[in-house]
Amino acid sequence: MRSTAVAQVGRKRPIVPRLFTETVLILGKDLILEWRTRTRLNALIFFSFATLLMFSFALGPDTKLLKENAGGYFWLAILFSSVLALGESFRIERENASLDGLRLVPIDAKAIFLGKALGNALLLVLLGILLLPVMVALYGVTVAMGIGRLFAVLALGSMAISWPGTVYSAIASNARARDVLLPLLLFPLVLPALLAAVKATGLVLHGDPMLQLGSWLGLLIAFNLIYWALGLALFPQVIED
């Protein structure tokens, strides 16, 4: 075979580092885009604030009830925002068929999955951190078991939404009625993860006398591992024609 100019440009690098560098590049690109369209990001943050606020109104001024279920409202606010964030994450790829552009570079499709999912998880974690003081103010909760554990639950829960969410968003973004399809597919799927995250958050907020936190965290970790693996295996099939 004739060695062309391209073949010499140095594409001979080991596979693992290449997947890693590509993932970092995709993640970095998505974060830059997020930052450059920060007006949208702000709107998303206020949307989640509004969601928290709405729960207070829907339930009336029963402080005890609000406090008890704070974890549930917190995660519902994050879940609703996640649908918007995930949808946006593939809308930008559709705009000029950039996803095709990435495929043809070529790039390992797994890197797109990992980069996008991590980017979305990061966004949700950030959202959670911003929502926390609002939740404290609105519902009067205190963090009984330390902010570190809360952060761990937040990170695990956000990733649990992001792995399957990225696969489903890639699918839904190309279908008709994509705005309905993504939550319809995603909500029932992440229900166990949401349940675990809500329970774990509640325990971290109100204390854990019966030592149940471990089993809920275990469920979250298992969910993460399963959908991380499935996403890696299936995402390439989704975006290749």
Binding site: V6, L25, N96, S98, P106
Partner: protein, 217 residues
């Protein structure tokens, strides 16, 4: 076997969309360093053909080889050697021109020199807009950035879909020059355009498509 395979070899390729055949049993070849002009009216299958060769879409039937590599089995290797200038620019609207090119460069090569990005932007006349997001660009500027994207990849086979579209007359001449340069550096060209005149100046062979079939022009 000792024979060098052609740059592009399309063998009995068909592509079906719904109930319509976008490509119908098309066969042709382009020699290495050669150039092929694709003509035909809208919807004649030019874009589909280019996208199929670029491995963006899979043919329904038939095989395509690029530099002897099968587009089905050796997809990634084909992609490393082919670049597509498409109707859709593949650009991120909210990244700057420079960031768009740097992303591509680093995906190709981890330590892609930024001096090459500067010189590429210079070459397509966008150096002064390097830090502007693509969203502010006119259609012609996007086209020029897209050509920079193609040049950055330094492909063995360049697939150009309407490269003259949305360009002003000066830019058309610029584009012709760029394509000629690509050719003289040994790049194989497949060019689809309405502007038959420009195309004929640049290409040695011509294939006229009508309803997904090759017909006499």
């Amino acid at each position: 076997m000792g024979q060098i395979p052609p740059a592009v070899e399309v063998n009995d390729v068909s592509k079906r969309y719904g109930t319509r055949w976008a490509l119908a049993r098309l066969s042709f070849a382009v020699a290495r360093g050669g150039s092929l002009l694709l003509t035909g009216s809208n919807g004649s299958g030019k874009t589909t053909l280019l996208r199929t060769i670029a491995t963006a879409i899979r043919p329904t039937a038939g095989t395509i080889r690029v530099l002897g590599l099968d587009t089905r089995e050796d997809r990634q290797q084909v992609r490393e050697r082919v670049a597509l200038l498409s109707h859709t620019s593949f650009l991120y609207e909210d990244l700057t021109a420079e960031q768009n090119l740097r992303l591509l460069g680093r995906l190709i090569e981890a330590d892609f020199p930024s001096s090459r990005i500067e010189s590429l932007l210079e070459r397509v006349g966008l150096a002064h807009r390097a830090k502007h997001p693509v969203r502010q660009f006119s259609a012609g500027m996007r086209k020029r950035l897209a050509i920079a994207r193609l040049l950055l990849k330094a492909p063995s086979v360049a697939l150009l879909d309407e490269p003259f579209g949305e360009l002003d007359p000066e830019a058309v001449i610029e584009m012709e020059k760029t394509i000629a340069e690509l050719q003289s550096s040994g790049t194989t060209i497949v060019l689809a355009t309405h502007l038959v005149e420009q195309g004929l100046n640049l290409c040695r062979e011509r294939l006229h498509l009508s309803e997904g079939r090759a017909v006499a022009a």
